[in-house]
Structure formats: structure tokens, C-alpha cells
Subunit: 187 residues, 2 copies
Amino acid sequence: MPSRTRPRVRVVPTVELLRLGHRAGRDPRLTTHLALVARAFGARRMYLNPPDPGLAERLAAVARRWGGSFEVVGAGDWRAVVRGFDGTVVHLTMYGIPLERAMRRIASARTVLVVVGGAKVPPQLYRMSGLNIAVGNQPHSEVGAVAVFLDRVLGRGPPVRFGGGQQRILPRARGKAVRTAPEGRRS
Amino acid sequence: MPSRTRPRVRVVPTVELLRLGHRAGRDPRLTTHLALVARAFGARRMYLNPPDPGLAERLAAVARRWGGSFEVVGAGDWRAVVRGFDGTVVHLTMYGIPLERAMRRIASARTVLVVVGGAKVPPQLYRMSGLNIAVGNQPHSEVGAVAVFLDRVLGRGPPVRFGGGQQRILPRARGKAVRTAPEGRRS
């Protein structure tokens, strides 16, 4: 008989992100923020359409320095990513149904692909997504929407681990403290 | 004697935002996303240093269209905003103590000023803040940090109201539905 005092482990889905309509010349910083948020809040990778090798390398450098295995993967054909995804596809849009109403379904999925558009979203995406979800039915930001989505879906699971980095922060009430791992002991 | 079935109302703080180090030529879109996130997740206003009247007007147009009374207020002297604030000053930084550890103190405050820096944060800010708080001790985005901060601090309170707008979204599982209020009945 299972012990009543055993802590309940909450299983959380594996989440990946697909960002559509990136314009390398125009939104490098916004897409960089999006990728950093995806990484920091526990997504496994971000597919980027169209591909941007410079941005992918910048994120790889962040992972080398701060740990974890998050990666940005160029996606020339976003429809192939959506069609080939084995899991629940969630399109974040201010026009969708509130996240609260879909939480149970999302949290019980094994794998989730979160899709966020750029300025213009292909109408096809609304049909291809299993769920069109709004993180608030107000205009705001794909960066904020992804952050809150991941925090709500993954944030109550086990803490996100960022092993293998060269540096980690020692949280402080004042100032900055960073520990640098000695060479060869980065795990 | 109070009824035991009366719903418990959770009092949430009033939150304002101060964004430092805005560069009107370089980060208009990031600061716009930040302001939109602040509005969508229930902040009352955003002080912007240095001031950017164009951005303030764009956000005023969003409030006219989508409701609510959120405003962007130019702040030539950010120290005066911090010093003159009657409440708890929270500086969001990846070097701070985890939000979880400070939640009780923040949630019980009457008013909160959330301060986010730009590329370079004046060291003075670390001393002037009552709390230096990290939304995850990883590098990410002030847009994501503010979204999650507001969602955690305000998200369990009464829903944010956006009255008085010209339009509102009717949430849909597929496609887009927007209701436009008739002239003269916008409340």
C-alpha cells in the first residue's frame, strides 16, 4: 500500500517552441528574448522560421556559459515541423480560448509544441493547431505569453536544471555574485 | 457573524512599473512589448526613462481601442520616481533572490514599483531597491520577467478589467472574433 506521506510527483510535459515569421533584419532582439525565455522557463528547443544561424549560435553560446541543453533549430518548412510533431500543438493567440480553460488538457500532454507567430500569422495555422490559446485576450507580446505559458505549465514541476555551464548565479539580495566552474568540472 | 460560505477575496497590490535605460532609436519594439505586457497583466502605469512621447501615444491608442486606463508616463529623473514612491520597490534582476522566497512580502504590500533596467543598470539601483528579485536566476528578458512577476502577484486576484474600449475579443477555439462597441456605449 502506498504511503500517504509520499510526496506526489507532478509529471510535466516536454515543451518545444516554434517561432514563425522571424525577420532577421528587423526582430533579432525580440526573437533573442523569446529564445532566452523559452530556455529559462524550461522548453527543450525552439524551431525558428525562417532559420537564423547567427541567432542559433548566440543561444548555443548562452547554453555553454549558463548550462542546459536548449537549442535553436532552423526550420525552413514550418508546416513540416507542425505535421511531424508527435504531441499536442498549441498556437498562442490573443483570439484563442483562455489558457485557464485548457490547462488540464495541456498539463496532461506528454509533449507540447507551442507555436507563436510574427506580425502576420498564416490563417492555416489556426486550423493546424490542436488548440488556439490566449494568455489573456488582450494585445501584448509573444515573449510575455510564452513566459507565462511555460511558468504555468512547467513551473510547478521539478525545478528546471541547467547543468554543464561555465557559470552560475549565487542569488543575492544586493549586488551580483557568479560562481565560475573550474575547467573540467562542468557537470 | 460572517457566513462561512462567503468567497474569500484576495487583496492584491497595485503595481506600477519603471523602465530604465530605454533607447528610443534602438529598442522601440522591446519597450512596446514591455508596456503591453504591463498593461495586459494588470499594472497601472509604466514610467519610462528617458521619456518617449511616441511610445506613450501608441500605448494610449491601445487603451482607447482595447480598454482600461493603463498609461506610459515619461520620467526624466528616475531617481525621483523611486524616492517618491510610497510602497515596496522591487528591482527585477537575474542576480537577485528567487521570487518564490519574496512572494509573501510582495503579495502583502499595498503598492509595488517594479523596476527593470536596460542593457546597463545603474549600480545605485541595487541599493535603492527594497528587494532585488530574480524571476529565475538565468539570463532571459525583462518582458518575460515582468509578465511572470505580474501573473504570479496579480494573477490570482480578481480578473483585470478593461472597460471603456472600442473593441473586445470574443475568445474562440478557431479564427478571430472581435466585438466593436457602438459609439456612446463604451463603458
